[in-house]
Symmetry: C2
């Protein structure tokens, strides 16, 4: 059985490795547009921030290692067309036939249509080359402009701050940072941290055009409000979209955002064609709607499911994701899981919510820190549908507990209020913040 996989990142290489483990006789060919495979893109900001020196650490497993285990990798090659009828993938001047096809092409950074966006000191945060290029120049820069204040944007800001003396500015289209992931109170605390780090934040603002200096480099950015933000390097992190342009106008069903539609078995609408990871829309766990998650954790899980289903050992189902996220921003830590307010409002879900501001542990053990928790429950089901935390010193790892409860669809009632959470003076208070929140939601 011959499986062709388009894309050599988390999903693609995950499928390849698991298929080989399940049955050594599986013939596996990966078509990859880069030299390397299995890039851990989440590490790029930390590479830029000089947490490590060797860019190869970003590569989870080298091409040679995969090939040694019998997985063929055709690298530096882009699949250009798929003939689903004849089960054939075109790349450059060649064709390759498959029994099963896995599309795992991931997502690509969104590049807005702004004048001079093609300048060579504007970078996305997507590839090993991006990381190397940014790191090579960043320490000499004096003015950095980061566009977008999502997870990647903020991770880049922190790491650049650690590694340079540059003045950093962030420009954000929305009225607050991290808007899709966290509620106002949480954004506000992050914005306070941005301010205290002497980072400029432009909100409800956008770049209208980049101003070019010499050498195809921009030296400033003009906003829609008319300000000029001087910059000698620009980090573009306004989001990503499914990397599926070459699949448009084919028989493969796509969502409006370009994401490949898959069912719970990670099957597309075309027989023997599977897809997973950032190029797909997937099941959202709680309300069974469809959503594109752009999370490595989802990609990894879908890889296992695809491999199991190709190998037909058992029928393996993706049960959904919660969009659980955790991020450090300087000393602040944020974590969240479940549906956001926008989804709740759009679907007219009647909710009850609580915001608790407490401390992470007893006042008499050094290092007590503030800890905030929001929990939202669905009034009809009494289940937790959203949890958000902000704190310090890893106290937000309590999100694991909330994910456990959300995942288990445990009802918030007097019994749950008694959940036996751990207590000792260095870790918590006798009444944990989760207990306080639950007691107010009954």
């Amino acid at each position: 059985m011959k499986t062709v996989i388009i894309g050599g990142s988390a999903t693609g290489m995950g499928v390849a490795a698991k298929l080989k483990r399940l049955d050594e006789k599986n013939e596996i060919i990966v078509i990859q547009d880069k030299e390397y495979v299995s890039l851990g893109a989440c590490g790029i900001p930390y590479f830029v921030g000089n947490n490590f020196v060797d860019a190869e650490i970003l590569i989870a497993r080298q091409v040679e290692k995969f090939e040694k285990s019998g997985i063929s990798i055709i690298n530096n090659t882009k699949a250009t067309k798929i003939d689903f009828e004849n089960k054939c993938v075109d790349f450059e001047d060649e064709k390759i036939f498959y029994d099963n096809l896995v599309i795992a092409v991931g997502a690509k950074p969104i590049i807005p249509d702004i004048k001079n966006i093609e300048a060579n000191n504007i970078f996305t945060v997507n590839s090993k080359e991006d990381g190397i290029a940014i790191k090579n120049i960043i320490s000499d820069m004096s003015k950095v402009l980061v566009i977008g204040s999502g997870l990647i944007g903020l991770e880049m800001v922190e790491n650049i701050k650690h590694n340079t003396k540059a003045e950093i500015s962030i420009i954000e289209k929305a009225d607050r940072v991290l808007k899709n992931l966290f509620d106002e109170e949480f954004s506000e605390l992050v914005e306070q941290e941005i301010k205290s780090q002497n980072i400029n934040l432009y909100k409800e603002n956008e770049i209208m055009e980049f101003i070019k200096g010499s050498d195809n480099k921009v030296c400033g950015a003009k906003t829609i409000k008319g300000e000029i933000i001087p910059c000698d390097v620009v980090i573009l992190s306004i989001g990503v979209s499914p990397n599926t342009d070459f699949l448009k106008n084919t028989k493969l069903e796509l969502e409006n955002n370009g994401a490949i539609k898959i069912n719970e078995y990670c099957e597309t609408n075309i027989p023997n064609v599977f897809a997973g990871g950032d190029c797909c829309s997937s099941l959202s766990y709680l309300y069974k709607n469809s959503k594109t998650f752009y999370l490595a954790t989802v990609a990894n899980k879908q890889a296992k499911i695809i491999a199991s289903n190709i190998n037909q050992i058992k029928s393996s189902k993706f049960v959904g994701a919660l969009g659980t996220t955790i991020i450090r921003f300087f000393d602040l830590e944020l974590a969240r899981s479940g549906e956001n307010k926008m989804f709740i409002q759009m679907n007219n879900i009647e909710t009850k919510e609580i915001l608790i501001k407490d401390k992470d542990h007893t006042n008499y053990v050094a290092g007590q820190q503030e800890l905030w928790l929001r929990i939202i429950i669905d009034c009809k089901t009494k289940e937790i549908i959203n949890a958000q935390m902000i704190g310090k010193n890893k106290s937000v790892l309590r999100i694991y507990g909330l994910v456990g409860l959300i995942w288990s669809r445990t009802k918030v009632n007097e019994a749950l209020e008694q959940i036996d959470l751990p207590y000792s003076p260095s870790f918590s208070r006798t009444t944990d913040i989760i207990h306080i929140a639950l007691s107010k939601l009954i």
Copy 2:
């Protein structure tokens, strides 16, 4: 309605405060054997370790504050007898009648019958006075002997180590430390830490007699193996037992260990007599057996339940405890929840278990540490019945997630393997240790 409460610690004062909040007209009288009430005994080791200077920080709320809210406290007085027939408590030469009685007398340290145990440099870790007495002399001591290596023993060891230059010895009856709470592998790591801190550990050993020097002080301890351990102060922390001697041979039903039997409403076998906290046996969550927990978290929850039931707003039930525990020992952190191996063996529960040794987060973010996780499931129900972790840097706060799953009685299967736990490089690896463990338990 007049409620008399015997005992002014977590349960007693918890009941008092909540009863008053529920209805200001509730008449509440607390009989307390000490000057103060609401001692946070968990803080004593940290006071000894000089985490804070003022012993009053150990007191959650002063007598005056309670009295201001209309709660009467008769302190420095011991209840000596209860006339359940006539609803009357005797103390000193007085009597007090009640409509409802709450027995919340807690636990007392076990004092073994060893020659010279009454010497005045042997201390338990039970009262504010204990804490003050130990702290007053500890910094001048050169040889400290800690008897017992349970939670309190280890917390005392760490705090004394931080605050003195004394040579510290631990003597433990069992063949390893923390035996009732953790499996061998975990004890072993703690014992390595004990060794690396230059602390002497005597295992499978007991004190046969204390050797007296001058001034009613012991200067050494002779073990059953014949060694003499020199010491100028002894910390006795071999455990506690319900403080119910005055209730023996009454109509109140007690367990063999002296714990008061209560039902899920925290009612004893005698009408209008409630009990809660360390002096009771309570419901164990998973298998609905009876157990004495000696945990502040249980005491607090039972206090709320007793107050609700006395006030008859609604019938409030204690649904059980898991014995969840967390402890820091120098840089090591341990957490556990659920039934231990002894219970599993005694009840012939067929189990499957896994021990995973992994890292807490990615290798490229500074501070990566080892992290161990054991999960035990009941083969019949597929539910997790025990979780144990050891790690550093708060990574064991993942126990919250496992408590969430244990509490929810979520079955370990392919769906649970996909639980959407958070990932980012500073906090975890893309495949979290919990995912690894679950995948091996399916």
